[in-house]
């Protein structure tokens, strides 16, 4: 315990010190500002922006979201303001909060990824980069970067060459062997891995005889996917040396702590912020309470502390 008897909640994420392990997940927390009314930004460890691209993206037709048992599907289509508007319109807010902002981004080609990494590297308000590799490679016939180890490695290597900031690679769960993907990213220069991105799912409207989502399939998130996420974090944590950010269905402090036991150094709260905009802050607070009640002096002692 620290002198004031409060547990040490800090973690270090590939050189980025965090006041606590709770971050918000990309695409579920806007550009931060949207939640200023609900979350004291300085109560959470870091926040991650909506996925950014070189050009602004308008996203998919509607409907874009649908609820499923214990989860939701989204097919937003990576709508975002683009890197230029990000710099002019969103970065000023980042300057006002004393919490690391992590820029999530994607591209359609390896070059676009590298270019985005370069552009973001130039922004002092961006503390780290998170690369969304769950996007189709337009040069390779649409194969998703994050489902092929070589494709993924080339993205990672190109981004690595373009930035000195901590480089987080966000893994797709839609693969046969997530450990293989994790190793490929680690070997190519990733400083940390965040996992998992959404599963791919689909919902049908029986009466209309149509897919609910205009895009037919969508990204599957929420409590329903937690067992898959937890399994993947546990598998990868045993296989890599870089820190892992656990993501997937985290709704409360217990969920978050389970991810840490499985091997995560930090966690991201996604869908939960839709249901309770203050979720991330509440989770960080409740984690601290749990530590106090269970006599744990340092949250780092829980990382990978699963017995078996």
């Amino acid at each position: 315990m620290k002198p004031d008897n409060r547990p040490d909640m800090t973690v270090n994420l590939a050189g980025l010190p965090l006041r606590n392990p709770v971050m918000t997940a990309s695409g579920t927390f806007g550009y931060g500002e949207e939640f200023a009314e609900y979350v004291d930004m300085e109560s959470i460890g870091a926040f991650v922006t909506k996925g950014l691209s070189l050009k602004p993206r308008a996203g998919n037709p509607t409907p874009r979201i649908v609820e499923t048992p214990g989860g939701m599907l989204n097919a937003i289509g990576l709508q975002n303001v683009g890197i230029d508007a990000f710099i002019t319109k969103k970065v000023p807010y980042l300057r006002t909060v004393n919490t690391p902002a992590i820029a999530n981004f994607f591209g359609n080609t390896v070059d676009e990824y590298a270019e985005m990494a370069r552009r973001l590297d130039d922004i002092p308000e961006v503390a780290a980069l998170e690369v969304n590799i769950s996007c189709p490679n337009v040069k390779l016939g649409g194969i998703v970067f994050g489902t092929d180890p070589d494709c993924a490695a080339s993205v990672v290597a190109a981004c690595r060459a373009a930035t000195n900031k901590p480089l987080i690679i966000k893994l797709s769960p839609n693969v046969t062997d997530v450990v293989l993907m994790a190793r490929a990213c680690e070997d190519a220069g990733a400083d940390a891995l965040s996992m998992i991105n959404t599963l791919i799912g689909m919902a049908i409207d029986l009466n209309k005889r149509r897919p609910v989502l205009a895009n037919v399939t969508g990204g599957f998130s929420g409590p329903a996917i937690k067992p898959v996420a937890l399994r993947m974090v546990w598998q990868v944590a045993k296989a890599v040396k870089v820190p892992i950010i656990g993501i997937g269905g985290i709704m409360n402090a217990v969920d978050a702590l389970e991810f840490m036991l499985a091997g995560a150094t930090a966690v991201q709260v996604g869908t939960a912020s839709f249901i309770n905009p203050g979720a991330a802050q509440k989770i960080a607070e409740d984690m601290e309470t749990w530590l106090i009640e269970n006599g744990v002096a340092d949250i780092k002692s829980l990382i990978g502390a699963l017995e078996s």
Binding site: T28, R64, G70, M72, I76, T271
Partner: protein, 272 residues
Amino acid sequence: MQFTAMILSNVEVSPGYWRMRMTAPPECAAARPGQFVMVRVNGAIDPLLRRPFGIFDVGTYIPAQSGAIPQPYMEMLYRVVGKGTAMLSTLHGSDLLDVLGPLGKGFDLGAADEEKLIVGGGVGLAPLYLLAKELVKGSKVRLFAGGRTRDDILCITEFERLGVECYTATEDGSLGECGLVTEALLRRLDQLKGRATVYACGPHGMLNAVAGIAAERNIPCQVSLEGYMACGVGACLGCVAPGHSHSAENPDYRCVCTEGPVFESGELKWRD
């Protein structure tokens, strides 16, 4: 803001349509007409997402006990369509509800010296009552309420009590005129002398028709949209609607929860 409301009453006002009154903090009871709330129907995971509802009315009530201090409240008018609304309808007085709001932009009340024409389809009336309450303070207000059948025509008495002149139409003729409520609207517009503003909320087809009518006659028109919402605060981008210049090649989406749910009809893309 996020708050815990205590349900004061929850009654079925017409088959399948419920009106719920609940306590609300003053900030929420001061909502502008057209704003909405996101309600968490169940604290567990089923249903997972909040459900959006318009604010039907706000006010102040005096608790039954002697010497009690007046409390602000808000009301919702909702239709049971699926799991969430079915669960809502089973709640009772003194049950608690987790509410986020008021959210979104409301209606623009416009100038006082013109006629206000309000068009509501079914439960689309929900956000229009609070609007009418404001508008009657300075203008002549007419309501055009439509529905498939008699049971879909809601709370007309409440509007009449405000001094609103009400026209009703049902597709099966079981109440009011037989046909679409836009026909009554058209007739009124034909007689119209001075300026007017149209406000509409209801099924998308109805809004489309109303927007068309207003555009043809160059009458300002505000519509309140629905959209599948996960967050209600502009973060998920699930709720968007195509803006007027939208096309597949040059998409232009507006965020219903933060830029709306009320839009000038000219801001939006409509089917021809």
